[in-house]
Symmetry: C2
Subunit: 470 residues, 2 copies
């Protein structure tokens, strides 16, 4: 290795002095807060925030340190949308996932802290237990909220499963029709524990339909199908809105922030809201997720120095699934996934083969201008769309949902690819990569806030009562 | 690819007709048993056995199908102890681990089945719950043994963690002094849940010491150090007794069978034993483990067609850790690990650098005879051991615990490497690879049975009462 390369190597894999000091200061502050929280009254929310800060520092440093290790193991990719096509470490979302998992596991004693104290001090049955097992002593279990603990553990298990399967996908490049079901496998722990532990399968019926169906309707096994569908959709929908630097992470951060904002609405009600626990639960999972995601974004934002891999997309989607299913607000999650749902529905013609689907549909990098343009599917004079498809494509073009190029004889030359990123470029014209990522992120914020508004204001039309209890 | 290679490819990656039929028959029988078990009274032990059969079939088939995929992803290694040094898929223990995890997760409803029924039918508080949450309905939580569920889930989490970290180790070839602590990280979920959920940190004091220390002694935080030590030792000790075809899997199968045998002793007592639950719990984890391990052994036994990877060794060691810690028989586990403990202690001179340690210490393959011989560390006339080390080496040679070769002037020429496999070859002379594996496995069985005998007969001298209650 020449001296030049050695220097280059150091500059991308070591922390600068300023970075080291900032991360150390942040970590020290977080450790202090954690120690304080555990000794004092135990405010788990503050502990969760502190763990988020620690998770940020750990992810930030480990991404920097482990990049070359990942590349040596073959986990690397080329950034196609740059002048200098450099190889970058791939699958760095796996680091974020590992740090996150460690954080949420270490967090377990915090929300259950008060209960430990209560259970330990009220040891009336000590002798009975001694009699049965001879070595049994100490805390008593009956006052401990095991139901919540099992839910929490099942969420962690689902996230561990999706990490294992996501890493498998990144390693083995599993085919699209197989990988679609990866999140289904990962959601099994969640569904199984829900089944043995909770088992509520009723949904509230919208007011206009209540005369016919009653107030509650028991979906039974269908409720599990519904949960599995959400679990399959959320991770996959984040995975297919990808292809430009930072977009996987920013969309996940926006959704996490909006979910956390929604959770806070329940915590700030003037009276204790019955769903407070569910939304605290959700925050405990979202805060460390935001920590690791910001650290990842730092390195994945334009111009990217690392790629996140499918692992991160699946993982992020699954975080949203576990908090919304265990917190019983999966409909809210669906409202926040509207851009992803649009992207999926819009992609259907290509995903199901009505229109030819190239291997990659990410926007095309124009090396001359340095801007991204919509990528296209070419049509040859011999291979033209069938008449109904041709009619549909022209209609989409007319309503500005596609760009169709015809030759002078009216034959199809090319059509833009069916992804929201390409469509945005059709609307807005060529954009630089970071500009496109920012605009899509802005759109996700606006649509998400509108979704939450719908959730809390217009829901009163369909349901007698909003969960906020207004 | 030529026709010849294509055939070769098929013969090693597809199941033969006989294999397909056998596996299908086994799977069908197991599914029938499972369905029956779930509908009937629910004997979880039979369900666990059936899941073990299914896990065997799944692991067997997937190892065959996914071998080439693993090799394409770079997970491959060369078998050094063969005439034809062929590349084989590496890290196939990851498949065994994944199938195992799915099996123990799907198993969750079985042991908790009776409780589900009981909890569903006795719904006295239904209206109260409705009042609080509006959509809460169905089963009630207070009659459900959540304590056991949380233990079970923490065990699965620890096993998922060790799989994630083991795969990381196989991918990135982590340095010895770092990987030593991998199991410590993986045991965090176990320890954390033990802390919030159970918290028994007392040990029974041996009878001769009871006048001084009392009947029970509360180790407090030291108990967690003890559990972490067992968790670090067991996986690592299995990982370092490796290097010849099949040995990682056979030692794990022997330990699992002996633990299962010990569990059965508690189930067959004429009266219900207080520790029955703990030992049932242990069997639920051991039976599927035996299923996946036998499928792996089929392919890893001499001449190996796949390698198991560090993932399997860590994973197997962690299975023993979770059952013995949650079942409170970690001292029994230590008795069953005596050959591994010997191997570790014997390795210390090389692990800690008193004697030079080559990169690989596996026995040397003699291509002329086709037999394995002890591998050696060479000494040059310039680089001789220091006097105390030289004295120790010569003493070990005298008591037949090492083979030392001196030249005519009394200088060290070579010493056999410090592993139990090399020592066995020093004792028994050159052996074929499968013969060596069989003899070491036989030794493990004899030592293990003796350990169990000590556990149940001689323990009465040290403790007032054996757990078997005799």
């Amino acid at each position: 290795m020449t001296g030049h390369h050695q220097n280059h190597h150091n500059s991308t894999t070591c922390l600068s002095q300023a970075e080291s000091l900032s991360l150390l200061a942040l970590s020290a502050a977080c450790v202090a807060v954690l120690a304080n929280t555990f000794q004092g009254d135990g405010y788990p929310l503050i502990a969760s925030l502190a763990l988020g800060g620690l998770a940020f520092s750990a992810t930030f440093s480990m991404i920097r340190w482990l990049g070359p290790t990942f590349m040596r193991a073959g986990l690397k990719g080329v950034d196609m949308s740059k002048h200098h096509k450099k190889e970058l470490p791939e699958c760095m979302g796996a680091i974020a996932a590992m740090v996150y998992l460690l954080a949420v596991i270490i967090f377990i004693p915090f929300p259950f802290y008060k209960d430990i104290v209560a259970a330990t001090s009220g040891g009336g049955n000590r002798d009975v237990v001694m009699h049965v097992e001879h070595v049994q002593e100490g805390r008593f279990l009956h006052r401990f909220p095991h139901g919540k603990l099992a839910s929490y553990l099942s969420a962690v298990m689902a996230l561990q499963s999706i990490s294992l399967l996501g890493i498998g996908d990144d390693l083995f490049d599993i085919r699209w029709r197989h990988k679609f079901f990866i999140p289904a496998f990962a959601s099994i722990p969640l569904l199984v524990v829900y089944f043995v532990d909770f088992g509520v399968t009723s949904v509230v019926i919208p007011t206009p339909l209540q005369p016919y169906l009653g107030e509650l309707f028991n979906l039974g096994a269908l409720y599990y199908v519904y949960m599995a569908s959400v679990a399959i959709f959320s991770p996959n929908s984040i995975n297919i809105l990808a292809g430009i630097n930072g977009i996987e992470v920013t969309q996940s951060i926006v959704i996490a922030l909006l979910l956390a904002f929604n959770d806070c609405l329940y915590l700030l009600t003037p009276y204790p809201h019955p769903a407070t626990d569910s939304h605290l639960f959700s925050l405990y999972f979202l805060l460390p997720f935001l920590g690791v995601s910001f650290a990842l974004l730092w390195h994945n934002w334009y111009p990217a120095r690392v790629f996140v891999g499918d692992t991160y997309c699946y993982f992020a989607g699954m975080v949203f699934v576990v908090v919304s299913i265990l917190g019983h607000f999966s409909k809210t999650l669906i409202l926040l996934l509207i851009p992803q749902i649009f992207n999926f529905v819009y992609s259907v013609p290509q995903l199901f083969g009505l229109v030819p689907c190239p291997r990659h549909r990410l926007p095309r990098f124009n090396a001359r201008t340095g801007l991204l343009e919509p990528s296209v599917t070419p049509w040859t004079p011999e291979r033209q769309p069938k008449p109904p498809v041709a009619w549909a494509l022209k209609t989409l073009d007319k309503v500005k949902l596609l760009r169709v190029t015809l030759d002078e004889e009216g034959r199809f030359v090319e059509t833009s690819n069916f992804t929201i990123l390409n469509l945005w470029l059709v609307w807005r014209g060529p954009l630089r990569e970071d500009r496109l990522a920012m605009e899509i992120t802005g759109m996700q914020i606006v649509v998400g806030l509108f979704g939450l508004f719908v959730r809390h204001r217009l829901a009163l039309i369909l349901f007698k009562q909003d969960n906020l209890g207004v």
